[in-house]
């Protein structure tokens, strides 16, 4: 018997109830951190809307910290005990944090567009969704708001927010690098939610597609 003999539903180890309780317990244990995380996310959104080089760096640092925190407090302490496969995701979260810090601190590092462009609209839209709307998917899944997935504390909204930044960042070669791990996470999340028969299972995948669309959107033609 080898790994490829297992089907996706063989690897689903827990019930929807247990999955929902992950977020409820996480928010209750860390309270009032969910409020602080939402506030920090709100500040980051404002910085994105009026981005300068310094503000961009600050958003990047906030995201890097969040990737480390989520890896430690959620993946390692809560998710891995019920899903042995999560152990393999934790180093990737650390790598994403390092990538953010490295690419954000280079002299010719990440920059965010300051003028309106569809790519920027999609990127900011993804970030805003992860901050304000994604937590409400708990209600759609039949959970209370205690089970909300909060940016900076839960992996899905963090991955979607990072996709938003990667969708609009320049230069493109760096942005593509930042997109890989959040996209992989969102794909596995959609698969997990589908196997759990959860409403809204397609949302993480939709976020990946939107980020890809934004990245592939034609650049504005230079003025003649």
């Amino acid at each position: 018997m080898t790994w490829w003999n297992y089907r996706p539903d063989d690897l689903l180890l827990f019930s929807p109830r247990v999955y929902a309780r992950l977020f409820e317990l996480h928010n209750q244990t860390l309270w009032p951190a969910p409020l602080l995380a939402l506030a920090a996310g709100g500040v980051a959104l404002l910085l994105l809307l009026r981005s300068t080089r310094q503000r961009t760096r600050l958003v990047i640092v906030l995201l890097a910290i969040a990737w480390v925190l989520v890896a430690w407090s959620f993946l390692w302490q809560r998710y891995a005990p019920i899903h042995w496969g999560i152990i393999y995701a934790i180093p990737l979260f650390g790598l994403q944090a390092l990538l953010l810090l490295a690419l954000g601190s280079l002299p010719s590092g990440l920059q965010l567009p300051q003028r309106w462009h569809p790519r920027r609209g999609l990127g900011v839209g993804l970030f805003a969704y992860s901050l304000a709307l994604h937590p409400l998917t708990a209600l759609m899944a039949g959970r209370s708001l205690w089970g909300a997935e909060i940016i900076g504390l839960a992996p899905d909204p963090l991955a979607i927010a990072t996709l938003g930044v990667a969708a609009m960042a320049e230069p493109g070669r760096y942005a593509w690098l930042l997109l890989v791990i959040p996209a992989l996470w969102c794909l596995q999340s959609t698969l997990t939610l589908l196997l759990l028969d959860q409403r809204g299972a397609w949302l993480p995948l939709l976020a990946v597609l939107i980020a890809l669309a934004a990245r592939l959107w034609p650049r504005r033609a230079p003025p003649r």
């Binding site: 018997m1 080898t2 003999n5 063989d10 689903l12 180890l13 827990f14 019930s15 109830r17 247990v18 309780r21 992950l22 317990l25 809560r78 005990p81 019920i82 899903h83 042995w84």
Partner: protein
């Protein structure tokens, strides 16, 4: 010392609560019957196991959630109260082993369980350490049955398990498969190796094992544990809106779960079935299926035909 006394008092209180929970909601008749599920002797031993055990796939993987841990403890308390013994788990099942260990400690029930676990690693040299970690999670002095999970690295693990059996570190050894996979390989191993037990998927719609594996188990004196009796709820859901046939009363099957379980455990080669559940009432319902009358061959054919025709 004071802490020890507090712990003991707390444990007694919890045991009383779980016992009371297990007893309540049982009608008097059911209470009287609850202590005596049908058993079947494990081939070559003097151990007789109740014909319905308890699986732990998904249902007991609850992490350290205190609310869900207590729910699982109540299920295991009800299982023992109804006369159950064999609980099956695996290191593949997330925190299920620790949940069982939590319940056994809370209920002071280590000596009541027939502990069946698995070794699940493709690297045989990692087997002993994994088995020891599993044993510590359960909190048992030794496992009664250790099985090679889904044949993963089976050749190396069988050597380890055979040595453990010879040294008295485990009573029995076996192999497992599920979903009807790799029956050819299972058959070859059953013929070549001195196995005590084989675990495979068998239920009223998944009957491939009847062709070769179940007769071979009978011939070679190998116990059979039937997993996925309800196809992980799918079968129960499929049948939920269909009527039980009126003649189900002839075998005292009052629900689809009992109808299916009675079909499985009435096969002469099957030692027990291991349904998993998160609900106390379901564990009682399942154990109630391990009682007379069980279907004879004619009734079994009728049952299978009926379900196939739905």
């Amino acid at each position: 010392m004071a802490k020890l006394l507090v712990d003991l008092s707390r444990r007694r209180l919890l045991q009383s609560m779980f016992s009371a929970a297990a007893m309540t909601a049982l009608p008097a008749g059911a209470l009287a019957r609850a202590s005596k599920p049908l058993t079947r002797a494990l081939p070559g031993t003097d151990v007789a196991l109740p014909r319905v055990g308890l699986g732990s796939w998904i249902t007991f993987n609850v992490g350290d959630d205190p609310v869900l841990l207590e729910q699982c403890t109540a299920v295991i308390a009800a299982f023992f109260a109804a006369g159950g013994r064999l609980i099956d788990s695996s290191p593949m099942y997330g925190s299920s082993q620790a949940t069982i260990g939590h319940a056994l400690a809370q209920l002071d029930a280590v000596d009541r369980v027939y502990a069946a676990d698995k070794v699940w690693t493709s690297t045989p040299t990692e087997g002993p350490a994994q088995i020891e970690a599993s044993r510590q999670a359960w909190g048992v002095p030794r496992f009664d049955l250790l099985q090679v999970h889904n044949l993963l690295g089976w050749e190396g693990h069988i050597e380890t398990l055979a040595a453990m059996r010879a040294d008295g570190e485990v009573r029995q050894l076996g192999i497992t498969t599920s979903h009807g996979r790799r029956h050819d390989a299972v058959e070859r191993i059953m013929q070549r190796v001195s196995l005590d037990s084989v675990q495979l998927t068998y239920n009223i719609v998944d009957r491939e094992a009847e062709q070769r594996l179940l007769p071979l188990a009978q011939e070679r004196g190998i116990a059979v544990i039937a997993n996925r009796p309800f196809q992980r709820k799918r079968l129960i859901r499929r049948l939920a809106d269909k009527p039980l046939p009126p003649w189900a009363a002839e075998i005292d099957a009052t629900t689809w779960a009992q109808f299916i379980l009675k079909f499985i455990i009435s096969h002469p080669a099957v030692t027990c079935a291991i349904p998993a559940t998160t609900q106390v009432r379901h564990v009682r319902e399942n154990l109630d299926a391990a009682r007379e009358p069980l279907p004879d061959d004619a009734m079994r054919r009728r049952m299978a035909d009926y379900v196939q025709g739905l």
